[in-house]
């Protein structure tokens, strides 16, 4: 009897699940190791930052995308290429600030939280905070200083997940990005 044929395997789905489960094991470990959700959020953001600065080169090479002309274009690329390539979902870009320096990424479905049920005593945990770090790290590598934070999270009972990205300044000198 061949076991190979017994299971329909979708490699893309398995990769996604492996990523989701590994990330979950990491967050659970951090929750054990650190006191307070704020500290865990901070560590996740830092790790995301480090992943972001490494990821961006790979991303630019794969997607063939060049320099962005403005912040609106950047927002579109993060949503339509970045998120899709790495998480398999495409968030919508909305809630632009009047000055055009701030926008939201809205997700109905966040693959990172597929199996997650937050324990009641961790209401301040931003489970997917790594994503904020990744965006920050990636944009810093292309000379854009931004701040990124979670505004809504379906894990906490919100209808959708919302990540807010705010442009701070353009970094003139391309300092080699270092690990935090």
């Amino acid at each position: 009897m061949s076991r190979q044929s017994s299971r329909a395997t979708d490699p893309r789905k398995i990769s996604q699940e492996l990523f989701t489960l590994t990330y979950g094991a990491l967050v659970a470990q951090l929750v054990k190791d650190y006191e307070g959700d704020e500290e865990v959020n901070k560590q996740l953001d830092k790790m995301g930052y480090n992943i972001g600065i490494r990821l961006v080169e790979d991303f630019l090479a794969r997607s063939g995308i060049g320099r962005c002309n403005d912040f609106r274009e950047t927002a579109d690329i993060i949503a339509k290429s970045g998120f899709r390539m790495f998480l398999g979902v495409t968030p919508s870009v909305s809630n632009w600030s009047p000055a055009g320096d701030e926008f939201s990424l809205l997700m109905d479905n966040n693959p990172l939280t597929d199996f997650v049920e937050l324990p009641e005593d961790h209401s301040n945990l931003n489970y997917s905070n790594v994503l904020c770090g990744v965006i920050r790290g990636a944009l810093e590598s292309v000379q854009m200083d931004v701040s990124v934070r979670f505004v809504q999270d379906t894990l906490k009972g919100d209808n959708q997940t919302e990540i807010r990205v705010k442009f701070i300044q353009r970094l003139e000198d391309a300092l080699p990005a270092g690990e935090e």
């Binding site: 017994s6 490699p11 489960l21 094991a25 190791d33 490494r54 690990e179």
Partner: protein
């Protein structure tokens, strides 16, 4: 396409993170933390992977499943060679182990190899434990990126 390397990025950062947040004199702690995370992931993955499989008939049957299905799912290839002494020791050889391929093959990187193999060892141990096979898993690199995983069944 992209999603199989996104895991590699995450794994690499987890290794770095555990290293930089653990005291340098405590190498064992680094290894055991990574191993534990792998163990937990292995438990879940095997539960998913065996959801539709027919029931296993023997221990060897289970090990073969790990070499084929689990490996294929996680590393996109099968184990290249499986050997056993028929007394509870299995050696799984992967000639091009994915989590080592990102590292250069120079000698100085050999020292870092154990940190990169702790999570995969835990993953195997967690998967097998969930299938009722309790074991100790160790890994050994002779030439990068080839790697041998030794599974020693614990019978009590």
């Amino acid at each position: 396409m992209a999603d199989d390397f996104i895991f590699d990025f995450l794994h690499m950062e987890i290794v770095n993170f555990v290293q930089r947040t653990t005291s340098p004199d405590d190498k064992d702690k680094v290894i055991s933390k990574l191993e534990q995370m792998g163990y937990r992931v292995g438990q879940s993955l095997i539960e998913k992977f065996t959801r539709e499989s027919p029931r296993f008939s023997s221990e060897l049957d289970i090990i073969k499943f790990v070499c084929k299905d689990l490996w294929n799912g996680v590393y996109k290839k099968q184990v290249d060679n499986l050997r056993t002494n028929h007394q509870g020791v299995y050696v799984l050889q992967d000639n091009k182990f994915r989590l080592l391929t990102q590292m250069s093959s120079g000698k100085q990187y050999m020292e870092a190899a154990p940190q990169y193999l702790a999570f995969p060892c835990g993953l195997i141990r967690g998967g097998l434990a969930n299938l009722g096979v309790n074991c100790v898993v160790t890994a050994e690199v002779s030439t990068m990126p080839a790697c041998k995983f030794q599974v020693m069944i614990q019978r009590t």
